[in-house]
Symmetry: C2
Subunit: 317 residues, 2 copies
């Protein structure tokens, strides 16, 4: 009986996700999906969003939850310079979740799959105590891919996308002050994966990662994988105009948002200093000295304070 | 701090899952994995196993839980006649789960990936209230694939593998009577995905599905997808020798186990009546009359009784 309900739900989900693609030989409905043969390398990633850990249902619509779960997965393809081909979505659903909310979630996923040209070709439904959305994406990489490990000492560090906007958006929603930063609230609800930027960087970028954990942490990953360090010039960070003012109104340090805020999904990459990449803004340089340093406009290293913020004025001795 | 622990865990997981393959251009550790270019169609499936829904930690070791989660996903590739290439494993872990149990789970996954020649190339770790394992598999299909939809009226129905063994194994574990059916207990703990059988059937089988929900239900899926019906001859069902006796000792109907028991992952398929397939046992025939019928040795249709069992003697009027 329960199983019958599951099959009906799958049919309705498949209807809402229908998205024709010449790349799909067999979509939702069999034991597995079949993608057309292509002469490219295949790029694979999986991302899980868990209620209470990655999102709260009181701050987002189900539509937003579906949308951003999809983008979080797609962003990993951007980080590799891969073109999205297809996705699989495994849902764990609390039994008390109304059907209408499930379909709202699916519609959010459907929006995202269309925006990124990446049809959902399969998935799984299971019951469980907490809502979770696990999205697998497969992409295609023709000649080269991007990777974390290729940064060279002396390369310029760039960011394509915003920093701190999503984190501010979340803070505004939590404070009930969305009106102070509507753009940033939208960026948190509907983040942007930078696929086109990544494709434009193939053959130019030496190393790349998407900023999901925050600039400082993800620069650290890039540094570690490449065996280099980075100096980041704070004055060069691309902060949306809402950031400074809205953060002040909330009593949050905008710099903390910019360097520690996650889920903006900007594309962080390096190019040789002689290259002018077609996208992004230069924010730093790869160094032989390991670790990641934040440098203020006086050329001095900024250090972290005990409360997790940054001391803009204290000079390292 | 928590994140740092996560990166250490990922490094230890990657170490336990290390499995070199010329098919992998880039494995665990970057934003996504990269598989070599191949001239084949790509087959994709995802399966989730949730604690309290698909398994209980008191009946299985963590090693078994990992192993069977992997096989459940691989079995969907068998159903399509695809050769496994790679897998991604997304884990939701209760915060109180000891590290040692996590690694036991990973070691079970590592056993399975080696047995099926299907390296784990990526994954995701998230915290959550209940343990779940979501496994995505990608396989390669050269010329043809199997599908649910190709069965023709008059085709013979075959099963490769056992029926009811896993269900009996579970019942024995629940009753604390494992000694009555050690083979079946092993089949529940360590199921078998029939990849080699499936590859041997490419170009021969007209339709196929793996039996994860139970013979009756999965034959129904085959029937529905192909627009045919099936007569199943009960006396032909391949029941392991433990099944009849152990089921009687537990007071369970062995026929119920055989037709309704899931998680055996047998391969159910059809071939034209003129074909003798290299694997499997013939159990029935595809009919123009829709639905699935169970036929006893007197040629009479067996019906289901109110308690969910089957009346072996009552004849349909």
């Amino acid at each position: 009986m329960e199983r019958h309900g599951e099959f009906q739900r799958i049919a309705e989900i498949a209807r809402r996700l229908r998205m024709p693609s010449p790349d799909i030989a067999l979509g939702i409905g069999d034991d597995a999906a079949v993608l057309a043969a292509v002469p490219d390398r295949q790029v694979l990633s999986v991302d899980a969003q868990v209620e209470g850990v990655h999102f709260a249902r009181n701050l987002l619509t189900m539509n937003d939850i579906g949308y951003r779960a999809f983008v979080a997965a797609i962003s990993d393809l951007a980080a590799m310079g891969a073109r999205p081909r297809a996705a699989l979505v495994a849902l764990i659903l609390p039994t008390e979740l109304p059907e209408s909310e499930l379909y709202e979630l699916i519609d959010g996923i459907a929006d995202a799959q269309r925006n990124y040209g990446c049809p959902v070709v399969g998935g799984n439904l299971a019951a469980g105590s907490a809502l979770s959305i696990t999205t697998t994406v497969i992409g295609s990489a023709s000649n080269s891919t991007l990777a974390r490990s290729g940064c060279q000492v002396g390369d310029a560090l760039y960011i394509a996308g915003e920093l701190g906007s999503a984190a501010l958006g979340l803070s505004l929603l939590q404070a009930g002050r969305s009106e102070l930063g509507p753009h940033c609230v939208t960026r948190w609800r509907r983040p942007v994966a930078r696929i086109d930027d990544a494709l434009a960087l193939l053959g130019l970028a030496t190393g790349a990662i998407d900023v999901s954990d925050g600039l400082l942490q993800d620069t650290g990953h890039l540094a570690e994988a490449s065996g280099v360090g980075f100096d980041i010039e704070l004055e060069r960070l691309p902060l949306h105009e809402e950031l400074r003012e809205a953060a002040r109104a909330l009593g949050i340090d905008s710099l903390t948002l910019a360097v520690s805020g996650g889920e903006d999904y900007g594309l962080l990459f390096t190019v040789p200093m002689s290259v002018s990449p077609p996208v992004g803004q230069r924010i730093g340089v790869a160094t032989s000295s390991l670790g990641v340093r934040l440098i203020d406009d006086a050329g001095q290293q900024v250090t972290r304070t005990g409360d997790g913020g940054y001391d803009h004025f204290r000079r390292k001795t």
